[in-house]
Structure formats: C-alpha cells, structure tokens
C-alpha cells in the first residue's frame, strides 16, 4: 500500500498526488487516484466544499530498502521447503520480482 495521509486542503501544495479517488457526496468521481493536483484544482475543490484530501506521503528511501528486504525474507520463509524445487522456481522468481515493487 502506498503510504498516505489525510491533509487539510489549505496545507496542500500543487504537485501533491491523490492517494484515493475523490468523489462528491453523490458518489460522482471528481478526481481519480494518482491524480497530480494543480493550483487550479485546489481552488476548484475548495469552492466545492472539499476540506481535506488523502494524499500520497513522500517516501524515505532507507525505509523503503528495509521494507523491501523484509518482504524478500518473508517470501523466502514461505518457500522454505521448496526454494530449490524446480517446479517452484517460476513462482518464486515472479513473487520476488513482484515484492521488489510491492513491498508495503
């Protein structure tokens, strides 16, 4: 999961990324998850009465490396009886590669 936090819209600077899709009270989509907020959006959303946004929190590279290593160790633990089995190699390598990117 991408780390995110709920921030008052008045504290958000242009360039921040939405961690979740933003919907209005009727459920209509205003901005999708992953949207990079521009200055005009901040004004527009405030006019619509939006007071807070869930935005992606910037990551610490050292913490990411630690989590990536922990995720790799966990995969090897799950494969502890089959790390050398030929039939498990494709899955093992695919999961290790996947966890390099998805480690939280």
């Amino acid at each position: 999961m991408t780390p995110s936090s709920l921030v008052p819209i008045t504290d958000i600077k242009p360039g921040a990324t939405l961690a979740e899709a933003l919907c209005d009270a009727s459920g209509a989509l205003l901005r999708p998850a992953g949207y990079v907020i521009a200055e005009a959006d901040l004004e527009n959303l405030q006019r619509r009465g939006i007071q807070t946004l869930v935005i992606v929190t910037p990551r610490d590279p050292a913490e990411d490396n630690r989590l990536r290593e922990a995720a790799r160790a966990r995969v090897l633990h799950i494969f502890r009886h089959s790390a050398d089995a030929p039939e498990a190699q494709a899955l093992l390598h695919a999961v290790l590669a996947f966890r390099q990117e998805h480690f939280r």
Binding site: F79, S82, A94, F98
Partner: protein, 279 residues
C-alpha cells in the same frame, strides 16, 4: 488416539450448518443457462447485510464505476450477473458457515485464503482463456472439507494444527497422518452432498493431487492458485508454507514469466478489493 474414519466423518456432516439457501440457488445457477436473474436479484436484496457488503465492493475503485450503484439490480446491470453472483456467494458463505470452536483454527484466515485462491484462480483462468466464474467459486470453497473437519471433530483437528506447527509441515500432511484422509476427501463428499457442479467437485477433490483430475482442468488451476495465494501471503497466517507443487501440472499449464507476473498483480489487486466482502 482414534479419529473418526472418513465414513464416520461423512456421516456426521449433517452437523454442519446448512449451506445458506441463497448460496445453494446461486451455486445451482452456475450449471444452468436459464436462471431467473430478476427473481434471484430480489432474493439477494432481501438480505440487507449481504447486499450492503456486495455494494461496498461493487462501488470500490477496483471496478472503476463512474457513478455508484445503489441496488443489487443496478449492480447486475452494470457489472453483469456472473460478477455479482461471485460477490454474493462469497459474502453468503463467509457469514453463513461458522466454524465453532477449535483452538488454533482461524476462521478469518480460512476465508481470507479461500477468497485469495478464488481471485488467483479467476486471474489464471482469464490468462489461459478459460471460463472464470466457476473457478472463482471453486477457489473460494476449495478447502471447505477442512471447515467440515473442524466442525465435526474440533479437538482432533486442534491436534492436527498443533502437529503441523511443531513439525513445520503442511496441514494436509498432518491431516493424513492423524485421520488417514485429508480435507480434499471430505470436501469431495461434501460437494457431492450439496450437489455442486462437476468442475467444482473435481477442484475440491483433487486440488492436492491434480494428476487424478483432468489435465489442465479445474483441479490443476486450483492447485496452482492455492500456491499463488500462499506465495503472495494473502491469508494473514504467520506460518504460511507453500504447498507441494506437482511438476507435471505446473509444466502443463505452461505459463510464461510475463503472464505469471500479470496474474500475481491481478490477484493482489483483486484480493485487496474483494476482501471488503469479509466484513
């Protein structure tokens, strides 16, 4: 220590709570082309707790709907009957089949794993150009025999869990050592009793011995989906152990690395959203 024989276990399956009626109707609709969708939608909508859970998932970002759906009928129109059927079945069996007390057994982890295998099987089926609906359900229910063993013989099964933990071996191996049969045998009996469609019965019976089923068939897909769900660590259990993989079955599925990577990503994403069904 004497454990119930397979025949005794099967004869005691009536101790299990009945499969919820809506779930039975949905299961039988898997095998039938002329399902009364409208009537079924009305029946589903009567259970508000189930309907609410299903709508929560249907409205999650996973389905990318531009407007929210507010009723089961709308969800069927937008997502299709088969998708909604899978969601409703999951919500129904998860809340309708309580396991009772068995030390060491986590019903929450049990259903998380079932759901994860269902999602992985659906993704594998799509990658291989197969029909995905029944495979999702087969994955969800693949270990249902274990739930039956837990209900019928909770103390015996608690010892099986303790042994698997002490010996760091798969639960299935500890089941065979203690009972002389495994959850797949009990699941097969249950699937027959509940009149599940043939492909789901095959998946339940042979997911640990896929060479006894059709080559590349439902048991083979659930066999690999089980391993994928464990490899992705989706059940939340501490001592997760990759199940034994059958080399010929994995070879026959012939998945390249690119496809496997896509299946893993789809499984993780699908599980994250569908897990809203678990309450």
């Amino acid at each position: 220590m004497t454990h119930p024989s397979l025949a005794e276990m099967i004869s005691r399956l009536h101790k299990l709570p009945a499969m919820p009626a809506v779930a039975m109707e949905l299961l039988s609709s898997l095998a039938s082309d002329n399902t009364e969708v409208d009537a079924l939608a009305r029946r589903i909508a009567q259970d508000q707790a189930i309907a609410a859970r299903v709508l929560r998932v249907a409205n999650s970002p996973f389905y990318g709907l531009q407007t929210q759906v507010g009723s089961i009928r709308d969800a069927i129109v937008v997502l299709g009957f088969s998708s909604v059927r899978s969601l409703v079945l999951t919500a129904t069996v998860v809340s309708g089949l309580p396991a009772g007390r068995c030390p060491g057994f986590s019903q929450e982890d049990f259903w998380r794993h079932g759901l994860a295998v269902g999602v992985a099987a659906r993704s594998l089926a799509r990658a291989l150009g197969r029909k995905a609906d029944n495979l999702f359900i087969a994955g969800l229910l693949h270990d249902i025999g274990r739930l039956a063993m837990v209900v019928v013989a909770p103390d015996d099964y608690a010892r099986v869990i303790a042994t698997a933990h002490e010996q760091d071996c798969p639960l299935q191996q500890a089941e065979i050592s203690a009972f002389g049969y495994d959850h797949a045998a009990v699941g097969a009996a249950l699937a027959q009793r509940w009149n599940f469609p043939a492909d789901i019965r095959e998946a339940l019976a042979f997911h640990h011995a896929p060479t006894d089923g059709t080559t590349g068939g439902p048991a083979a897909l659930i066999h690999y989906a089980d391993a994928i769900a464990k490899a992705l660590d989706l059940d939340g259990a501490e001592n997760t152990l990759l199940p034994h993989l059958d080399p010929a079955t994995i070879d026959a599925l012939d998945l390249d690395q690119h496809t496997l990577a896509r299946v893993l990503a789809e499984t993780q994403e699908g599980f994250d959203h569908c897990s809203l069904l678990l309450g």
